[in-house]
């Protein structure tokens, strides 16, 4: 699950949670130039793919490597 409200996702027990940028634009950041925005989005989705390969016992938050600026 990719969500900007990741603490809530954690509280309700979602298993694999990827930290997104912001509620109105989870996958990316419109304040960035288009190319960096697309890179950030790619990093978020790639993090989600890694999360699918991770063994988790309980709600686990995965943070994309590129920091969100918003």
């Amino acid at each position: 699950m990719i969500s900007a409200m990741y603490p809530v996702a954690e509280q309700v027990g979602a298993s694999r949670i990827v930290k997104a940028v912001a509620i109105p634009h989870p996958c990316g950041d419109p304040s960035l130039p288009a190319e960096l925005d697309a890179q950030l989005r790619r990093e978020i989705v790639a993090t989600a793919l890694k999360a699918l390969e991770a063994k988790v016992e309980t709600s686990t938050v995965f943070a994309p490597k590129i920091a969100a600026s918003a």
Partner: protein, 353 residues
């Protein structure tokens, strides 16, 4: 005079709607917006000394700063008790109210009261906290129930401020928090238990003294050994749909899902897709649908072999999640899950707002 601080979102403070959801925490002297209604119910007994507000998005995206600002304000105002909301069926607002009450009671020792519809997702969080200083009253779904809600909250918050003892949930009318308290009764447990058993056997109604809560607990699925060889699908609760919203999704409380094919597409072009959702500002997603349904990123990962060729399910599933009732969402989840299983999908990315 009892000193009350009323905490509301930007809308109920009269600052503005979704376009002002990024507003930082602010303060208005005395009662403003919804707090005026509270003040009129409080009458002479108590005074709303300040109305503290926050933007719905700001609170969730900058929670630490928002909470710190609210705590500082409450200390400055020497509040005796706090009212947050009522939030009715608003998800972000409801969650903020419960989080604020929780933190205020923990850090400042103040008792707090909030209100929202029983189906608001934040009610579950309130129950989970089991906080004996926080009370939640059920309201109507919409703001038409503002006055009745404030009529229950106003006298109650005065009792909280005065340090009065508060009775059990069913006697006082607040939503149960799952806190068990000792009480003295005249008949021994064995007699009461046998009465219940006899009633049960006879098919008559009886009331348990130890109610159990039943919550869904989903064990995490085992990991995929190799994502690049797995069949993947995407679910979007942000509400990205083809331009014109051909299936007529509502901006809230949807009860069905759809899937839209993207097999021939490399990107979701602006102007051909839109976001239907009443819970956040959809302007960004209307401009670039990839914020909610990241097809460009998926294609780029496919080109690099991180997602196997032909392994991305050629359609994405969507239901705008705003104000979805848990019962409906559970059914929708089961329906989509059954279809994904039938299609042989191994892993799912769910993009939520």
């Amino acid at each position: 005079m009892i000193r009350i601080v009323h905490i509301v979102n930007q809308f109920f403070a009269g600052i503005g709607g979704e376009d002002k959801a990024d507003r930082v925490v602010g303060v208005i002297e005395g009662a403003a917006g919804a707090a005026r209604g509270l003040q009129s119910q409080l009458g002479e007994q108590a005074q709303v000394v300040a109305t503290v507000y926050f933007g719905d998005n700001y609170f969730h995206e900058h929670k630490d700063e928002a909470v710190a600002a609210i705590l500082a304000e409450l200390e400055k105002r020497q509040a005796d008790a706090v009212v947050a909301g009522p939030a009715f069926n608003a998800g972000r607002y409801g969650l903020a109210c419960v989080e604020i009450c929780q933190t205020v009671s923990e850090r400042l020792g103040l008792r707090c009261v909030t209100g929202m519809e029983a189906e608001n997702p934040a009610v579950g969080l309130y129950r989970d906290y089991h906080n004996d200083k926080v009370f939640l009253f059920a309201t109507t779904e919409s703001t038409t129930g503002m006055i009745p809600a404030l009529k229950s909250i106003a006298p109650f918050v005065c009792r909280l401020a005065l340090g009065e003892e508060i009775g059990a949930a069913d006697a006082e009318g607040y939503v149960p928090r799952g806190i068990r308290r000792l009480t003295r009764v005249d008949r021994p447990a064995v007699d009461r238990a046998i009465d219940m058993l006899l009633a049960k056997v006879a098919g008559e109604p009886f009331k348990t003294e130890v109610p159990m809560e039943v919550w869904d607990k989903v064990a995490p699925a085992p990991p995929l050994a190799d994502v690049s060889g797995a069949k993947l699908a995407v679910i979007c609760t942000g509400g990205v749909v083809p331009w014109g919203n051909p299936d007529g999704f509502k901006t809230y409380r949807n009860n069905f899902w759809r899937k839209y094919n993207f097999a021939e597409l490399k990107t979701l072009e602006s102007g051909k897709w839109e976001a239907v959702h009443g819970g956040y500002n959809v302007a960004f997603m209307n401009q670039n649908p990839h914020y909610g349904m990241p097809l460009d990123a998926l294609r780029s990962l496919e080109a690099e072999g991180k997602i196997g060729r032909g392994k991305l399910y050629p359609a994405y599933y969507v239901i705008p999640g705003n104000q979805g009732s848990p019962a409906v969402m559970r059914r929708v989840g089961q329906e989509i899950g059954a279809e994904l299983r039938k299609e042989g999908v191994d892993g799912v990315l769910l993009v939520a707002t």
